[in-house]
């Protein structure tokens, strides 16, 4: 896309890539960049970012979580907005950093100011940038899982559905219990594999019962969990991050699939 000359009036958005997107599925990051640019933003990706610190925070390791939080805040200095293609990471940045850094007045103020600039990708597009449709094709019946942090910490519910409604060829079929956790829970799925499995089994049964071609969600962690379970169960349902579909970038094989699977 050609660089515009009016960049001074365009908001500067720092993309918080999230470690899973960075490592596992960069295509989600590029889809996010495209959507943000389509929404009239200038996007940059600070190299100094790593992880939001959630694994440490949720394991009780406050010291490391604080260090990572301060690192993230510093990495995104100077941006008008910080946007993440994940409700979980955005929730960490927006709601948990102020809590985590609340003890020290200076960091608390930094965290508070930072928090105001943080958004989850899809809600940013709709609620902040006033996006109400996208130019994209996806010939598919999809179902949408509401990831927990996005839904309950950030109020992401109607925004993805609103944009999905404008995708050519796409039909949304809602599953039962779309708002119930998939059992991923970050380190939970490793610490309590049997319980996590029981929860994701219920989820994939609900997904299958809505008979979609494709499962969409806004968090890669949850998607990897559900996609991994569905492929183990031999279900012919693909899984994608909602940003890929909204950006019209669905050439890549779906999550956990190969080029051969796609053929």
């Amino acid at each position: 896309m050609a660089k515009t000359t009016e960049s001074s009036t365009r908001p500067r958005v720092g993309l918080f890539v999230t470690c899973l997107v960075d490592l596992i599925r960069p295509s989600v990051g590029f889809a996010a960049v495209k959507l943000l640019e389509d929404a009239g933003c200038d996007v940059a990706v600070p190299a100094a970012q790593t992880c939001c610190g959630q694994p440490a925070y949720n394991s009780g390791d406050k010291a490391d979580a604080r260090a990572l939080a301060l690192n993230t805040i510093a990495a995104f200095e100077g941006f008008d907005y910080v946007v993440a293609p994940s409700g979980s990471c955005a929730g960490m940045l927006k709601h948990h950093y102020p809590e985590l850094l609340g003890d020290d007045p200076q960091s608390a103020e930094q965290a508070r100011a930072f928090s105001e600039r943080v958004f989850e990708l899809i809600s940013f597009l709709v609620d902040v940038r006033g996006f109400d449709r996208v130019e994209a094709d996806f010939q598919s019946t999809v179902t949408y899982h509401d990831s927990c942090a996005g839904l309950r910490e950030l109020g992401v519910k109607q925004q993805p559905r609103k944009l999905l409604a404008s995708v050519n060829g796409l039909t949304l079929t809602e599953m039962e219990e779309a708002e119930i956790c998939c059992g991923f829970g970050g380190t939970f799925c490793i610490k309590y594999p049997d319980v996590s499995n029981a929860i994701v089994e219920k989820k994939t049964a609900n997904i299958a019962a809505s008979d979609p071609d494709c499962l969409l969600a806004g968090d890669l962690g949850c998607l990897m969990n559900m996609a991994g379970k569905m492929s183990r169960e031999g279900r012919a349902i693909e899984a994608r991050h909602v940003a890929e579909v909204l950006a019209g970038m669905t050439d890549e094989p779906a999550i956990g699939q190969s080029i051969e699977d796609k053929k």
């Binding site: 960069p26 406050k62 996609a227 051969e260």
Partner: protein
């Protein structure tokens, strides 16, 4: 009872293999959860009432000493007795003394979670006094010598076939030919058996959902009416309750009652809500001669003003467990003690120690559904995290897990190193994961035992982005 919270993992595994239990837990969604959603939808002010209920409790907790004194004064004025119990031992001793002084042989009991917490039944039995649980669910689990598996539906894990078998084994005075197929028949039999117990009991013990400082009143909420028969028939009524149950006025009680049943069973109001103030009055034809309140602390005062302060707002409605995916998968017994689910994950470590109950605050996905339905807006995930922090500080986090976490954090705090490492690992894994996924992977058995692990696409996003930026 001896806790088995330390064995959460094996308890959970056993529960997951228990088909009748999983069917029973599946029913919560159609029952409690659907009913709560309907009750909430039918009351436009519900969310505001949650804020008000929280405010009532916060005001009370900030003045707890004074409200307890005001409450006590009224209880005494109306002819009752208050017994202050700092520990479970103190409470048991106070109850036992009242029963002994009365020469009690049998005690009927309404449902009381504080009673479970101090294991009062075991204690009475050891003293030669027979306690009879009269809430149907509590009666069913008493027959089986089990703890409750849910705080408002203690026998939710049982099937009617199991109940039938227990009744045939216990009620041997009845005809073996009798038909006990339907819940109605089982309820009817329990009603007849327990009716005799109500009429014969020397002492009745109930819990309290609320205490009211204005009037010195204790409040119980039931659907069966068992709590009322427990307290209005015997000569002595003992209320076992805890200090955080007090609210200032009847108006404050109204606010909490408006959210309690709606959050618990999804009823707008429970069938029976009973306000009790003191013993029998002059001219009364029924009611107890003596009215005692045992006020238990048992660690609660220590929670005041600290990291777990918010937990003192809990009104024991059970909404958190009804909406919890983990509770929904494993049920209450896996938690290994009296209080299961999210509220138990916070409360149990304070009562029996985080050494025994350390798993409970960890066994959560932090999905936040508990907090989103809690009528008292208790930040349950946040407090579970506080327990994890304490465990981490105490060195109770498993060593291998901690080592992995430390290694990861070491790299994540050094962005240049981190991106060099991930830039090596992602493409490498991608090459091995040609099929787009791994069916197994060393050190990731927790994941790959149950599901495939999606493989990376190749280079990291950061690598690709830098390449793209260079090209532009």
């Amino acid at each position: 009872m001896k806790p088995t919270s330390h064995a959460f993992k094996s308890n959970a595994k056993e529960a997951l293999g228990n088909e009748p239990l999983r069917r029973a837990l599946g029913g919560i969604k159609r029952g409690f959860v659907a009913n709560r959603a309907r009750a909430r939808a039918n009351l436009p002010e519900f969310e505001d009432l949650r804020d008000e209920a929280k405010a009532v409790k916060e005001h009370t907790l900030a003045h707890l000493d004074l409200y307890l004194e005001a409450y006590e004064k009224k209880v005494v004025e109306t002819g009752g007795h208050v017994h202050w119990a700092s520990s479970a031992d103190d409470a048991r001793a106070a109850i036992l003394k009242i029963c002994r002084d009365a020469g009690a042989k049998t005690v009927t009991k309404g449902k009381s979670m504080v009673g479970e917490e101090i294991a009062i039944n075991e204690h009475l039995e050891q003293a030669g006094i027979t306690p009879v649980e009269t809430d149907l669910g509590e009666y069913l689990i008493q027959l089986r010598h089990e703890p409750p598996s849910h705080i408002i539906a203690p026998a939710i894990h049982l099937t009617k076939d199991q109940v039938e078998a227990d009744f045939r084994k216990t009620h041997t005075e009845l005809s073996p030919e009798r038909v006990l197929e339907e819940p109605e028949q089982l309820v009817s039999e329990a009603r007849a058996i327990l009716r005799e117990k109500f009429l014969a009991a020397d002492v009745g013990i109930t819990g309290a959902n609320l205490l009211i400082a204005e009037t010195g009143t204790s409040v119980i909420v039931t659907n069966e009416g068992n709590g009322d028969l427990t307290q209005c028939l015997p000569r002595i009524h003992i209320v076992i309750t805890s200090i955080e149950k007090v609210v200032p006025t009847l108006e404050d009680a109204d606010t909490i009652l408006r959210v309690l049943a709606r959050s618990a069973t999804g009823q707008e109001f429970s069938t029976y809500t009973t306000f009790t103030t003191g013993p029998k009055r002059e001219g009364d034809l029924d009611g107890p001669d003596e009215y005692h309140v045992v006020l238990l602390d048992n660690g609660r005062s220590e929670m005041l003003g600290g990291e777990f302060h918010d937990m003192l707002r809990c009104i024991r409605c059970g909404a958190c467990m009804n909406h919890c995916p983990v509770y929904g998968a494993v049920g209450g017994h896996a938690y290994g003690w009296v209080y299961p689910g999210p509220m138990g994950a916070v409360l149990t470590p304070t009562l029996i120690g985080v050494g025994e109950a350390g798993h409970l605050p960890n066994a959560s996905t932090f999905c936040g559904r508990c907090e989103s339905v809690c009528p008292m807006r208790i930040p349950l995930p946040k407090m579970m995290r506080h327990w994890r922090e304490r465990e981490y500080e105490n060195g109770d986090t498993p060593a291998l897990y901690k080592a992995g976490l430390k290694l990861w954090a070491f790299a994540a705090k050094r962005p240049a190193l981190y991106h060099r490492l991930t830039g090596l690992v992602s493409p490498l894994l991608s090459r091995f994961g040609r099929k787009g996924r791994f069916a197994s992977m060393p050190l990731a058995g927790g994941w790959t035992d149950h599901r495939d692990l999606p493989a990376p696409q190749g280079k990291t996003f950061q690598q690709r982005w830098r390449e793209r930026e260079t090209r532009r």
